[in-house]
Symmetry: C2
Subunit: 346 residues, 2 copies
């Protein structure tokens, strides 16, 4: 087998973790000697051992590692965090060669792991395609731009409505679609909605129906301070962003900004270490992010329902006349279209 086939095997291993690595990147590793796979490992979940160590632990006779090659989708870490530095650990294995899928974009790590291995005489080859970036778009975006990766999520009827009347919460998705959208939530560190959505839908914004140890931060954009005195502002794990100074002074979890824009929200959340944020609506907030071109992905669940003309349209704003970008994926879940789009320039 060739390098690209082993790397592909490591990529497939990495994907198995799904959302469970949370803020950590999903990483896979394959140890090979004499064209025989000794072990396949991956980072299972946040707090667990890294992929290289997971593969290492599966090799019973550690002498086999001498002169072996490891394929790892992301540069081995060189800093001691929750786990000892992988690069240092690996030196003890006396490997011949390390093939790295992508250099780590985290400035604490970039090239440090690779240099440490090279200085110790290990051959390190860097793969030329962004394998880790494809698996971990938010992780890479965050460390490259110092801003969260923004996904806009919409559930709309076939005629583009999000409800049957302006002040109504109209349920159009099925249980199976809801599980998929909770899976999407599980990848995030923040779920963002506008004040109207918070007041009408009373959303918990929590991950349900999907096993996870981490709940994303609830973020409500409430420029005018309409949530003052409501239950919504008292929910745990909540951050409200407002232009209303008096409102902000009243509550600890309400943050004041002189002008709240998609970009100011991203900067604030990026400063909190949030790599991935999901904007769930309503239509005004979605339109604002589209108008500002402040998003990296759009995920739309489109049912076959036709809703009355009175309902609100998705991406509703008088001024918006824009393209959402390129269709990157279309699937069907329970007779509902799941459409993924990416803006033309990111």
């Amino acid at each position: 087998m060739k390098d690209n086939e082993y790397m592909q095997m490591a990529i497939e291993a990495a994907k198995q973790a799904q959302w469970r690595t949370w803020k950590n990147p999903r990483v896979g590793a394959v140890i090979v000697k004499a064209d025989t796979v000794l072990a396949v490992g991956y980072h299972h979940q946040y707090g667990d051992v890294h992929a290289e160590i997971d593969a290492y632990q599966q090799v019973t006779d550690k002498n086999q590692l001498v002169g072996a090659t490891i394929y790892v989708t992301l540069e081995p870490c060189a800093h001691t965090g929750k786990q000892p530095s992988c690069a240092s650990e690996m030196l003890a294995w006396v490997l011949k060669r390390v093939v790295v899928g992508q250099i780590d974009p985290n400035p604490l790590v970039t090239m440090h792991g690779i240099e440490r291995l090279r200085k110790a005489g290990v051959q390190v080859d860097i793969w030329r395609t962004p394998v880790s970036e494809v698996i971990n778009p938010a992780f890479h975006y965050f460390f490259t731009h110092q801003l969260p990766y923004v996904t806009l999520k919409v559930a709309q009827s076939f005629n583009g409505k999000i409800n049957g009347a302006p002040d109504e919460a109209t349920k159009i998705t099925t249980a199976e679609v809801d599980v998929d959208s909770h899976r999407l939530r599980a990848y995030q560190q923040a779920i963002v909605v506008g004040s109207a959505t918070a007041l009408i839908d009373q959303p918990s914004l929590a991950v349900r129906n999907v096993s996870t140890d981490h709940q994303p931060l609830r973020v409500i954009i409430d420029r005018r301070g309409r949530l003052a005195g409501t239950d919504q502002v008292h929910q745990p794990n909540t951050l409200v962003i407002t232009e209303n100074e008096m409102f902000a002074a009243q509550y600890e979890q309400v943050q004041y900004q002189a002008t709240v824009t998609p970009q100011s929200v991203r900067q604030l959340l990026g400063g909190l270490g949030i790599q991935a944020m999901l904007v769930e609506g309503g239509s005004e907030l979605h339109a604002a992010f589209v108008a500002a071109q402040a998003y990296q992905t759009v995920v739309v669940y489109q049912t076959t329902t036709v809703l009355p003309n009175d309902g609100l349209s998705s991406f509703a704003r008088d001024a918006v006349f824009a393209s959402l970008g390129n269709i990157s994926d279309v699937t069907t879940i329970d007779n509902t279209l799941k459409i993924t789009l990416k803006p033309e320039e990111q």
Copy 2:
């Protein structure tokens, strides 16, 4: 090879005609002897020889036909129309066996062709799956229900808008998508729009960019008679349907109905021999056909554009809260989704 493989070959041949058989069904035929294909034929276009004859003409040594088997996707005709009856012609070939994909639903033909062949001692086997119906849905629907097969066609933005402002004709589709929608028109005998669409868009409703010898009838639904005195009512090949008696009395091509409904339009057009009609909008007319469940297919071209909130929504009506049915196909043309739906019960 087995019967189903030869029948599949005949189906593929039938499809080659695309829209060119117009009101005639698309039919394919394969002549086989001693497990060898002697000829593959199909009905090329309206007015041309039928599939069986097309296959026959390709056999140089007609003696080879003695004892052969012919697979034909639709029952051979028994009436003399534009072409001599196929069933009668085929008797002279001294075939051993005829395998028929489906019984012809046209009452002038049903079982007549099969009976004529059987009486002459030819073995006729009837295939058990609706092969011809799948290739010719409108032809089969028309002869089964005595009503046209209705396709609703919508071009909408990603947020379900058909224009950027209520009285505006907003172009959102690309040239490549337009060719596809003209191909869809080429299969029809009538294109139907509402009066607002006729007045705002001034549509020719003609098939362009696609080679065809037939233009569908232009049909405008104009209950109140808003087209009186406009150019639209004077266009050639046009039928206007109205509830305004005075308006109808003024023009030869304006037809009066006391109450115009989707069903009354279908009945009128069915009486004119129209098998396939395409309803192109606007949103009120589409909503009326959805509310009346008076359609067999919906084809939606959905671009990635977001249009302003002021624009009209597709399927716009206060009362409609319905499912369009099941998603039967989704493809992408030039970054535009082409979504096909079928109602749950037809």
